[in-house]
């Protein structure tokens, strides 16, 4: 890990996982263009730990892909 990947490569390699992307570059819509994936996996706690340790000033923490289609969301605050 640490190699710069494009968003297409990230989506292809890490579908269904959380990723921590360092030195992330985005477009004007804040869509990720490329960056270094330094964590990938399903464990959000581990993602948080890695993000806390990162020295990069430009980070992204994203879930790649679509969640379970059987899952419904009720978000109210």
């Amino acid at each position: 890990m640490g190699e710069i990947l494009t968003i297409e490569e990230i989506e292809r390699q890490f579908d269904g996982e959380w990723v921590l992307i360092e030195d992330v570059e985005t477009d004007e819509r804040l869509e990720v263009v490329r960056g270094k994936v330094t964590y990938h996996g399903k464990d959000k706690e581990q993602l948080h730990k890695r993000a806390m340790q990162s020295q990069s000033d430009h980070l992204a923490t994203l879930y790649i892909g679509k969640p379970d289609p059987k899952m419904e969301f009720l978000l109210n605050f």
């Binding site: 985005t26 004007e28 000033d57 923490t61 679509k66 605050f77």
Partner: protein, 132 residues
């Protein structure tokens, strides 16, 4: 500026950027996924993401009660230096710091407080959102 989204899926995912100036003067920022929630009065962002950027929960300006599956809980409200989404920047913006369940594929929700004073257009046919 129009933002594209997948209109075939239940949640409307948006990219957002939270920023904070570090002690050395450099800006640290984080890109996250939020769900657009026009039923939410407030914008919610994961406590863990905010702590990762250097925000401190003890600096909360306020707190609020929210209803969850396990009852009422108190959550802090934190003022972030900048929150950007849908082509808009909100400075010194007060957000609710709360972790959504681990199964949630987003790190928070973008609520009505971010959208007010603007015109929000959601085109489900084209899969486009515009905030003017």
């Amino acid at each position: 500026m129009k933002t594209l989204f997948d209109s075939t899926y239940g949640l409307i995912y948006l990219r957002a950027k939270i920023s904070r100036r570090k002690e050395n003067g450099r800006i640290k920022d984080l890109i996250i996924n939020l769900a657009l929630d026009t039923g939410a009065t407030g914008t919610v962002i994961s406590q863990k993401r905010l702590i990762g950027l250097g925000y401190k929960l003890k600096d909360a300006e306020d707190e609020m009660l929210i209803t969850t599956g396990s009852g009422l809980i108190s959550v802090p409200k934190i003022r972030v230096e900048n929150l950007a989404a849908l082509g808009k920047d909100k400075s010194n913006f007060l957000i609710i710091a709360h972790d959504l369940p681990p199964t949630a594929s987003v790190d928070g929700v973008l609520g009505l407080d971010f959208l007010r004073e603007n015109i929000l257009t959601i085109d489900f046919v084209k899969g486009e959102i515009e905030l003017k």
